[in-house]
Symmetry: C3
Subunit: 358 residues, 3 copies
């Protein structure tokens, strides 16, 4: 689906040291060029890795990486035919290297594949790439440099901002608005109907039409097979810079504040408002119609059933402040023994205090 440019001759360690503002440790003569990034424990010849955490010094000592990025204050020496580069932040430098490799990867060429079906009222930027099997509905607007990978479906009136990547199989319901520089992972569904029904007296349900929409601001990431429902009326909104992982459920009329991160398999029920810079760990559940304050962190598998109005860490189902939850966990771990011991003591006290029949 794109031109190959897998072959490149790599980077010299000197070149990398300059790019990262780093200092080389080791003798470079016999050191081969760097071709690929790799984890420290899997790296080999031609690989660059990083070391940033003292728990992994044994791994560093044993690594076969041709080059390892290390902190300035690290005094280790590289093996033969290998080198270290001392930098301020080894992880950041490694991520920069990932970006350099990513840059070299073939990008889809601009243009509309002949099997894509584009409504004649849609507007597609000439720099956008619309790949095979995509379907773009009436009055859609596709911005500059957008990529729609294969088999994407956009219903009518969807807009996709410049430089946004929409991966294969993504589905956007009518009137969905996606900002710039977003990445939508494969299989995500944005703008499905919310789960809303009116119960009849006989116990059956009538569907509430959902005629609102989803708005996704700039710089958002949506994970694979994640679902975001359209609102009843008004907007389900994902704020600027929000990062959402795979298989997350965002219900109708939810609003998520800027730079919030939501980890895999978490669910947020209808009309709940999540603040800015919130972190929801994996498999968290948040009930509907509550609000979560800026800066709240909810730990994995927690269940939040009431509004959280103060920043801080929360844990448990129902969620409580982290310190309380840890105390509870510690107590529970020992509870059967503790109760048995208490009963023993009570028994002993009973015996000791029992009125003696003489």
């Amino acid at each position: 689906m794109a031109k190959n440019s897998d072959t490149h001759s790599g980077w010299t360690i000197s070149d990398l040291a300059v790019r990262f503002g780093g200092e080389v440790v080791g003798i470079l003569e016999d050191v081969p060029p760097i071709l690929r990034p790799a984890p420290l424990d899997e790296a080999g010849i031609g690989d660059i890795a990083f070391y940033a955490d003292k728990r992994y010094t044994a791994v560093l000592a044993a690594t076969r990486a041709t080059c390892t990025l290390i902190p300035r204050d690290c005094t280790f020496e590289p093996a033969a035919c290998a080198a270290f580069i001392k930098v301020d932040d080894p992880h950041r430098a490694f991520v920069r290297f990932l970006g350099m490799v990513d840059e070299l990867r073939p990008k889809p060429a601009a243009g509309i594949h002949q099997t894509a079906v584009i409504d004649h009222t849609a507007v597609v930027a000439s720099t956008a790439a619309i790949m095979a099997g995509c379907v773009v509905g009436a009055r859609c607007v596709i911005g500059e440099n957008v990529v729609l990978y294969p088999n994407v479906t956009l219903y009518d009136n969807v807009s996709v901002g410049a430089n946004t990547i929409v991966h294969a199989g993504v589905i956007c319901g009518t009137q969905t608005e996606i900002g710039e520089r977003c990445t939508i992972q494969p299989g995500a569904v944005i703008g499905s109907d919310g789960f809303g029904f009116v119960e009849n007296s006989d116990g059956s349900y009538d569907k509430i039409p959902h005629i609102g929409r989803v708005v996704i601001d700039n710089d958002v990431e949506i994970g694979a097979n994640t679902t975001i429902d359209r609102s009843v009326a008004g907007i389900t909104r994902i704020g600027r810079g929000v990062k959402i992982d795979n298989l997350v459920q965002i219900a109708h009329n939810v609003r998520i504040g800027e730079d919030t991160a939501v980890v895999a398999q978490t669910g947020i029920a209808g009309s709940t408002v999540i603040g800015r810079r919130v972190r929801l760990a994996g498999q968290v559940g948040i009930v509907g119609h509550i609000s979560i304050a800026d800066g709240v962190v909810v730990l994995a598998q927690s269940g939040v059933s009431k509004s959280l109005s103060e920043a801080g860490m929360y844990l448990g189902s129902p969620a409580q402040p982290h310190g309380n939850a840890l105390r509870l966990t510690a107590v529970l771990r020992n509870l059967p023994d503790a109760l048995a011991e208490i009963r023993n003591e009570l028994h002993e006290l009973h015996e000791r205090t029992e009125p003696k029949s003489v």
Copy 2:
């Protein structure tokens, strides 16, 4: 993908009052026509909202909605250039308005898109709309007014009843039977193989062929990216009127009774039988081979490991009757302090009763 009919001139408040059997409050002279529904706190000029809950009287007082549906006994007065309509059930009236707007939306035109691939043995009603990229297998039967949105895949021998809407990217495995007036949200998978294996003596597994099928009765809703597995043999059945939310897992040979509702991210393991009018809240887990009685309500994140034979509310993992679970939650919230206090008292009693050495 459909003709545009976004432009319409709106409804007058008098007209709406007649339709809803309501009574107008306010002076209509300067009130503009109603164009859109909106939440009470987001509504503005041309919007209709509803007010039904006294917790929101401050929101009602501040609303900028041109029209608000309110209960008969509400004595508030509208702002200038706005009106209220008193009705028996403001939410119901609002839902009726949603339906009126929904009616105006463009519907896919009947016919088979030229890029759809329909097996020559399939039977498709002339009023059905089969959109771009759909694949319809051998001997499928597609009823009157059915819509298959883009990139739907039906394997062989699938039937879809009249007036059912199948959204984009839905996949139905062979022999799946879907009733009338159902809505299948995008990305749902119906009729994947169940998760069944026979373990060999060396710890490896042999796959059990799943040759049963999924039957979905009339008036069912299936959520986005939800998965429903085909049975080993026999039928995985979703009863009439069942409503299933997004990312729900229904395993092989499960049966769900009429008018039951299943909220997002809940999972039901193999061969379990769910009664009628059951409600399973979000992220609930139900083990296999049990049965849940009619009218049971299981609250969010609960885990049900034994059959529930009586209607009522259940909570917790393992789930227990709601009252018991609440008592437990209350006790747990205070447990570390309670144990510390008990130990103090024991200590004090010990000291008090200790035989004095004189």
Copy 3:
């Protein structure tokens, strides 16, 4: 999408008895041929079922199955016009019958559908079936007898081993490698970007490019709408014989050992290493950067936050050894009463020991 071969005349009970090495019980004269498998309680004329568990003797007594597979030591007698076959392992024999029926089902014919889009640099075995709407990227390699059901998307450089079945709507990211004899259920996403970001000082995030890949060994099953993320660098690896259910999340750089089974809606966070023959039940959560020993069994809804270095069963959130967890559950079920009773006893002891004021 394939030729019909639904019509076949069935198997005689004598024939089945020979195939399964079994012994017929009952008079075969009036017994019709066997056409289909069915559950014992749903079976009727022409159906074969199995009975293996004494809890179901009442069901066996009432079954209308034309043939039932029973254990050697079972002394029940069949009804009129029905027969039993005594075998060593009724379930195994039933599974063999399922396989016989499955064999007769139409298989997709080899060849590339005219609507599939295959990059000219891809290599597709002549025995492979590439169905409608599939998109196969540059330099992909598709092995012998592979089936790609409709609307599958393979990015560039994906390889699929011989005899692997890839169901409709599956998406494989670039460089994904799938082994032989695997089954990938509909809608699964393999090789989406991992969820990794670097936090900036202003609280915003920079995306970490994920340039690693996913490798799936032979004989693996991946469930419907399951997501498996590509690694940052290196490999996310699913070992030989692993079985993964629907809606499971496998994060970047996870490694799963041979013959491990993962039930629906479970999530495994980044870089965690799962051993061989591990079983993770439904809705389990495993944090990142830990390791789970061979043979560990984690029960449903558990949360594992620390490495488990010993085989055995674990339960709870946080997970603990099963015996401890059961003791805790038993204590919790009674905790409110137990605490009330302890307080009563303390009160009584207090009263009994109170220094009397005379």
